[in-house]
């Protein structure tokens, strides 16, 4: 495996972003809590690109602004204040979050900076009300130990999380600002990872360290990875927002494959002697050809007084439709790019036609109209003049790039590990000082104090779980990897339930439920603790754990008591249990006669099924045997 990737010169770097579970947000004293339901206030803003430190304006940002994008923000009172609305200057940096960040830095043997400087990183998509994200480096030059291989950590920084995008339509984007300002720890590795497998292991190892602090938030979206990937002759591509750790290796494999595919297209274009100068912004109105079209999309567009514009891509035939990786063709890449620059809903290209009700006759007419030769492809869009022009200009730009190189870009991860074009990569110089928050010195005292209470590293922790709690190594490892790692000792201590039972529930059971589609992220720590206290006090059987968890996931505000009631899981008394077992034995007299003591297993199964979750298996076993002995002597 590794050799293939070293052959193509794969280089990857990871940026792991982890929400911290501090009491309040990074620059205000709001709680870090998302809300559902209707917002109590909405407000509209427009962001205006400002010049960077070096006097440049990000062209993509400027373009967005000229299109007049309006951003609607939603807020409620509990999770946001005037700071998130950008109506009040930021408060001083959250101390608790800073200490968590410093602790992580110490665990990764990084060098703490002497003085923290808060920076503004320009972000113009509306996800930050200010138009920038506040961020600061807390340490540099750390390392993460990957079973002997050391992966260097370039920097560890503390930043504010962005607002949540709720909706995007035409030129309106809707964001919710509850998430804005939640402390986010960023751990960035050097781009020295050379295989997808190694990337996955690195991500896992970083995640373990973060969780070891006991201050990492958990649940969907609380950890997000960005991956930088390049291959030899390819380009640096940044893939954003990978929420599932398990996807890291797949994404890298697919991206390497995508870049290789693009390089093959480049070679093919070279063979076909495609020339950059032949790609012209020569857009033709071909609406007349579609006067009587059967194509619904075009029909609707024409009815709304939109027009169809086409452009010729010399020597591109068959290349737009060629599959790079699943769900990705150069044609679909161009469609995403056209959407970004021209806000068009989609585009048609001759490689995928005839289809969508567009006939061969119509295609031939367009080909004639554009004087296309057989090796040429044609791309067309149906929209108003301005959008169509912006879209086709972007298509031509992309086609020209295809002759030369793989373009640098920012892509978004899909849940299946494929990615799609998001936007051009932002320029380098988009950081400037946050003048509203003073810089902040780390005293030697404070560093010393923090150094004195560093949480155990995962390896140490695993062996301690084995020794102190009697878990087997596999389970101990799973427990350390788990989001519930810090909850585990607390539950064992307060519930007196066997450590293995707790660990299995918090790892295997929860994983299995998640696979079955149960929204386990919604179960709160309090609910979990409460559940085990009920088991420990003998009021609930441990066999009922999966059922109760499933119920709790759907009843956020309720606790174990309610689950017991709703599910009819109240434990049977010894007397009730005896009666029930007797009954089952009586119903199966034939079986008992046939198999004598050998019937115990089957009877036990029947009893457990009937009394599911309301009895302890051990007790049932004892009673079944007792009854059998009585009957068969």
């Amino acid at each position: 495996m590794t050799s293939i990737y070293s052959e193509i010169g794969l280089k990857a770097g990871l940026e792991v972003h982890q929400q911290l579970d501090s009491r309040t947000k990074l620059f205000c004293r709001c709680r870090s809590k998302l809300f559902s339901g209707d917002p109590i206030i909405t407000f509209m803003r427009q962001l205006r690109p400002t010049q960077s430190e070096l006097g440049q304006v990000d062209p993509a940002a400027l373009f967005e602004f000229r299109k007049g994008v309006r951003i609607i923000y939603e807020a409620n009172d509990e999770s946001s204040c005037l700071v998130e609305m950008d109506e009040e200057p930021p408060h001083p940096l959250n101390r608790e979050a800073t200490e968590i960040a410093l602790t992580v830095a110490l665990m990764m043997k990084a060098k703490l900076v002497d003085e923290l400087h808060i920076m503004r990183k320009a972000v113009l998509d509306g996800s930050n009300t200010t138009g920038f994200q506040r961020t600061c480096v807390v340490a540099t030059d750390g390392e993460i130990d990957l079973k002997g291989k050391i992966v260097p950590i370039q920097h560890i920084s503390l930043e504010e999380d962005a607002a949540r995008k709720m909706e995007e339509a035409d030129s309106i984007v809707r964001y919710r600002i509850d998430r804005l300002g939640i402390p986010l720890l960023e751990v960035a590795t050097a781009p020295v990872i050379h295989s997808p497998q190694e990337a996955q292991e690195t991500a896992l190892a970083i995640g373990q360290v973060l969780r070891a602090t006991g201050k990492a938030k958990r649940g969907l979206g609380t950890i997000r990875q960005d991956i930088n990937i390049s291959i030899r002759d390819g380009a640096l591509v940044e893939i954003k927002g990978v929420q599932e750790l398990e996807l890291v290796s797949k994404i890298i494999e697919l991206e390497a494959q995508r870049q290789l595919g693009l390089l093959e297209i480049r070679e093919e274009l070279e063979r076909r002697r495609a020339k950059e100068k032949d790609f012209k912004d020569d857009f033709r109105d071909v609406s007349a050809i579609f006067q009587h079209t059967e194509c619904k999309i075009i029909r609707e567009a024409l009815d709304q007084d939109k027009r169809v514009f086409a452009v010729r891509l010399p020597k591109f035939a068959d290349l737009l439709g060629r599959e790079l990786v699943s769900r990705t063709r150069l044609g679909s890449e161009m469609a995403d790019i056209a959407h970004f620059w021209g806000r068009v809903g989609g585009l048609f290209h001759t490689d995928e036609l005839p289809a969508y009700g567009i006939t061969n006759e119509e295609i031939n007419k367009i080909r004639q109209h554009l004087e296309a030769e057989s090796l040429d492809a044609i791309v067309f869009v149906a929209d108003n003049l301005r959008n169509a022009k912006d879209a086709l200009k972007a298509v031509i730009r992309r086609a020209r790039e295809a002759l030369k190189t793989v373009p640098e870009e920012t892509r978004g991860a899909r849940v299946d590990g494929t990615t799609r074009y998001l936007r051009p990569r932002p320029g380098a110089a988009r950081m400037y000082p946050e003048t509203d928050v003073p810089s902040f010195r780390l005293s030697a005292d404070r560093v010393e104090k923090l150094s004195g209470c560093i949480p155990e590293l995962p390896k140490v922790r695993i062996s301690r779980l084995v020794e102190d709690y009697g878990l087997n190594t596999k389970l101990a490892k799973q427990m350390v990897d788990s989001e519930y790692a810090s909850l585990f000792p607390m539950i064992v201590k307060e519930s007196a339930v066997s450590a293995t039972v707790v660990a299995v529930a918090l790892t295997e059971t929860i994983k299995a439920l998640k696979r079955d589609g149960v929204d386990v992220e919604r179960i709160s720590d309090t609910q979990l603790r409460d559940l085990f206290i009920l088991i420990g006090s003998g009021r609930l059987a441990k066999e009922a754990i999966p059922e109760v968890l499933t119920w709790l996931a759907e009843h956020e505000d309720d606790e174990g008591e309610e689950a017991i009631e709703a599910l009819g899981l109240a434990m049977l008394s010894r007397k009730e249990l005896e009666i029930a077992v007797e009954e089952i034995v009586r119903e199966n007299t034939k079986l008992v006669e046939d198999r004598r003591m050998g019937a115990a297993g089957i009877l036990m199964g029947l009893a457990m099924k009937r009394l599911r979750g309301r009895v302890e298996a051990k007790q049932v076993g004892e009673l079944v045997k007792k009854q059998l002995k009585k009957l068969v002597g």
């Binding site: 407000f43 400002t50 006097g55 005037l82 009040e88 400087h117 138009g131 920097h155 400037y432 010195r441």
Partner: protein, 442 residues
């Protein structure tokens, strides 16, 4: 070397000087156990002389502690920042003419990334480069008369503003925009309301609450609204233009004598008090909110009365205030005192004798309320009736700050105490409203 402006002090300044390192240079800092390389960045605000700020290659700044063993070496020159002006928009010359008189504040500034500070946009072209939309609204000219934080604005500057505005109006134009810091913008707007009489065109005073160095700044939206109103609004009054809400949706115009900054940081910090705002702008359309207003073009000739007398004080009454404060003003030959009394217009009886002395010494004394909302009524209680008997002039629903500015202006026009008193009670620039609307509340 240039560290004089860089914020570096004492020992660190000397080390940098010895290394020959200037702001923007790439430096290498060698310490006991590490080496850090980055661009030397200016330090701001602190008296610290132990740290150097550098920009790392990833764009982040960090502070590096300098110990006696630290060595600094200059290893290169960084990219020199420069303000590259985007291509100027085309100006169509048949649009109305608007002059932006700039006094300072974040509204008329752009960022200087070298220092992280802001500096004024000096010319129309500077402004166009930051807010290109202006060129589609009006032919804009700029006149920078000062570059002040608004807390540094004084009576002297009001006089200058009024005179410069009058000069431009006499040359003929569609309207004036005054760019101003928001802290004392309400005072200046009131001052212009009295100093510029029979206005033929609107004078729009505009500020911003978020500085222009952030993409979310309200400066551009407010400025566009102000220029549009100056060019096209049907009213010819002094008005303050700011956000109406937290949204970039509407710009609201407050009458210069009836408005006040009521919030430290929100975009909609300004409120009209005891009256409705004058007008609202949405999607570039102006809607009048008051029925009675001074119409554009009703007068053809402006009357300029730019003189103010600084010998007027605004005294906020509070429990246990020392009445000798009033005596001090008398001894300093003050000509007027505006009292910001409690509730309906009261001060403690222990102040009465000093107030009586002041009035005997030909000081004009007016009463306003620290409640801001509502009007005073000094006939309801004995305390009030006695103050009236002393000769205190009740100022109805006038804002305390407006009353101060008005009395300064009156005493800049006349030395006659009786005339001054009668002018103080007269409605000159809509500083009084005759009715308190039902919906009028804080």
């Amino acid at each position: 070397m240039s560290t004089a402006f860089s914020g570096y002090k004492r020992r660190v300044a000397r080390i940098l000087e010895k290394a020959g390192a200037e702001i923007g240079d790439v430096i290498q800092i060698t310490r006991e156990n590490d080496v850090i390389e980055g661009i030397l960045i200016p330090r701001s605000g602190s008296n610290d002389a132990k740290h150097v700020t550098v920009k790392l290659s990833n764009g982040y700044n960090i502070g590096v502690r300098i110990t006696p063993k630290t060595k600094i070496k200059k290893v290169g020159t960084g990219p020199k920042p420069a303000f590259t002006r985007p291509p100027l928009p085309k100006q169509s010359m048949d649009l109305p003419k608007v002059v932006i008189v700039s006094t300072g504040g974040t509204i008329s500034s752009r960022v200087d990334y070298r220092t992280g500070g802001v500096r004024p946009a000096l010319t129309a072209n500077d402004l166009y480069s930051v807010v290109p939309e202006l060129s589609e609204i009006a032919v804009v000219d700029t006149d920078v008369i000062s570059n002040l934080f608004s807390e540094n604005v004084t009576v002297k500057h009001w006089r200058k503003m009024a005179a410069v505005i009058a000069k431009h109006i006499k040359k003929g134009l569609a309207g004036i925009v005054v760019a101003h810091g928001t802290d004392t913008m309400g005072y200046s707007a009131a001052a212009l309301s009295f100093a510029l009489q029979n206005l033929p065109v609107p004078v729009i005073v505009v500020g911003s609450q978020r500085s222009a160095d952030r993409p979310s700044s309200d400066a551009a939206t407010n400025l566009i609204g102000a220029v549009r109103a100056a060019a096209y609004a049907p009213f010819a009054e002094v008005a303050v233009a700011m956000h109406e809400t937290a949204s970039d949706e509407t710009i609201i115009f407050h009458r210069g004598t009836k408005t006040r900054k009521c919030h430290t940081s929100r975009r909609d910090a300004f409120r009209s008090i005891n009256t409705s705002p004058l007008a609202r702008m949405k999607n570039g359309q102006i809607e009048m909110l008051l029925e009675s207003y001074r119409k554009r073009g009703a007068y053809s000739k402006l009357i300029l009365k730019p003189n103010f007398n600084e010998k007027v004080a605004l005294i906020k009454f509070h429990p246990s205030i020392d009445p000798n404060i009033i005596e001090w003003y008398v001894s300093e030959s003050y000509k007027g005192i505006i009292l910001e009394g409690t509730g309906l217009g009261h001060v403690g009886r222990y102040c009465f004798s000093k107030i009586r002395d002041a009035i005997k010494n030909s000081i004009v004394v007016g009463m306003t309320s620290q409640c801001l909302w509502g009007r005073i009524s000094m006939n309801v209680y004995n305390q009030g009736r006695d103050l009236l008997a002393l000769g205190v002039i009740p100022l109805d629903d006038m804002l305390p700050e407006t009353a101060l500015v008005k009395l300064m202006w009156i005493l800049g026009q006349t030395d006659d105490v009786e005339e001054a008193k009668s002018l103080l009670s007269m409605n000159l620039a809509d500083e009084f409203s005759r009715r308190t609307r039902i919906g009028e509340t804080a």
